[in-house]
Each structure stands twice: as structure tokens, then as C-alpha cells.
Amino acid sequence: MVPTLSHFLAVAALLFAAGLFTVLTRRNAVAILMGVELMLNAANLNLVAFNRYVVGGMAGQTFALFVVVLAAAEAAVGLAIVLSIFHTFKTIDVRAADLMRE
């Protein structure tokens, strides 16, 4: 079983499903951010795999690099917001932050 494009796509699909499950079922804001990171990684793996096996050139890898940079930015701002929520509500249950609903 030589690894082909399908194998990499399967690994990425499993990663994405795990990330989606994490985002859907957790109430802890930090865990939700972890799920988002997993999904971004799965998308990145797909980009690089298609770049290697189908398209060629450098575009896929460059795009993946930008995704990594934006994921780092997203994590920094997201965790800052989580800390701010924790200071305000004394919890990071995402259902607790509903002050604007009232």
C-alpha cells in the first residue's frame, strides 16, 4: 500500500471530522479553539497534498503557509478574548457569555 493522494485525503478527513466533533460538543472555549486548529490543519494537509500530487508548482504550499500565519493570529486573538471572558464572567463556558442577549 504505497501512500497515494487518497491516503493523505483520508487522514485530512479524519482530522477534520475530529475537529468538527470537538467544536460541536465542547462548552469550554479553549477546547473549541483546539478543534478549530485541528480543522485548519486538515485543510492545510489537503492543500499541500493536492499541490504535491495534482497541481505542482508552489502555490499550494504558499497558501498553506499563509493559513498557518492566520491560524496563529486567530489563536492569539481568540485566547485573548477567552481570557477577557474569564475575567468578566469567572467561567469559560461559552453559554455563559450572553450578556448582550438581554
Binding site: 500500500m1 504505497v2 501512500p3 497515494t4 493522494l5 487518497s6 493523505f8 485525503l9 483520508a10 487522514v11 485530512a12 479524519l14 482530522l15 477534520f16 471530522a17 475530529a18 475537529g19 468538527l20 466533533f21 470537538t22 460541536l24 460538543t25 465542547r26 462548552r27 469550554n28 477546547a31 479553539l33 483546539m34 478543534g35 486548529e37 485541528l38 490543519n41 492545510n44 494537509l45 499541500v48 504535491r52 500530487y53 495534482v54 508552489m58 502555490a59 504550499q61 504558499t62 498553506a64 499563509f66 498557518v68 500565519v69 492566520l70 491560524a71 496563529a72 493570529a73 489563536a75 492569539a76 486573538v77 485566547l79 485573548a80 478574548i81 481570557l83 477577557s84 475575567h87 469559560i92
Partner: protein, 209 residues
Amino acid sequence: MRPVNKLIAWTLGSAAVVAAVALLSARLSPALAAGSSRQLAGPFTLADGVFYFLAVLAVGGAGGVAFSRNILYSALGLLASLLGVSGLYVFLSADFLAVAQVMIYIGGVLVLILFAVMLTNRIGEVNVSNASLGWASGAILSAVLLALLLLVAFEVPWVTRAVASGPTTAPLGHGLLQQWLLPFELASLILLATLIGAIVIARKEIRAE
């Protein structure tokens, strides 16, 4: 203090895992270059073994993130998953991206996440604070999506091309400074805005009278 001891043990354990993977990849990379088609058992070559090891590392770590009740174990699962994906990047001859993945994700994002875990939870009660909601609906939705993605991955007749694998750092650098110079500069601008925004959001409020 037992929780602190446990934390230290886990930190040391994760450091040992990182060191083991680094050592293994360092030992394996000459073997990969020289005899990647050397057969271990039947049609199963060394390269295949490395691929499946990395895939299991990535998917197992993702499973740990998704199913662990303790958020600290979730963070360690994320570590394993990111390491596995980084190894898969090497497999896809994206060497610069693999190193960037280790440096940015494991060195930056994962440390940020661990800080957030420890700043927002008292370590003793992490088991309670990671409860789940809507388990069944989430599982069904994820399973359906997974089935669809696997169907696409294995049933579509992908038109692949023969590739010459080689280092890609130099072409990537040329591309970043020629064809993609504007997005590159925009990314630096976004990072600066993120830096300022994160500091403004997360700092303690100081009342200016």
C-alpha cells in the same frame, strides 16, 4: 501538591515524546533518502511504515482532542496531532512548511493554549470544566461529513502526475518575494494588528479618570 506533580510529569512526558520523534526522524531521514524503497515485509516498504506511523500519530492525537474529558490531555493530543501533520508535510516534500508548523504551532499556538488552560482553569477541576453538550447530534454530523469526505477521497479518479521530490524552501522564498509579495506584506500587517489587538483585549483594565 499532587496536581502540580502531575503537571510536571506530563510536561516531562511530552518533552520526551518530542525528543523521541525528533531523534527518530533524524535517524530515519538518511534511511529514507537512501533506501526508501527497501522492503520490510512483502510489499511494505520503510517509507510506507513511516507514513502509517505519522498518520496514526496525527489521527490518534486528533481523537485525543475530540474524546478526552480532561482538557490538559486534549492539549497533549493536539501536540501529537500537530507533530504527525508536520511529519506528513515532510512526506509531501514541503520541508519549510514542516519546520514552520513545528515552530509556529507547537512553539507558539500550543504554548498559548496551555497558558489559557492554566489561566482559566484551576487544574484540580479540569475534569468538570470540560463537559460536552449535544453529544449525539455532534457525533452524527461529524460521522456523516467523515463518510462523505472518505467517499470523495477514495472514489474520485484523481488525475495525479509524476513528481520529482526535492527541497522546496528556495522556490517558496522566491515566490514570497516575487509573485506573492503583496499577500506577504499584508500578512505582516495582520500580525501587527493581531499583536496590538490581543494586548488591548487581554490586559487588565486600567481606569483613566
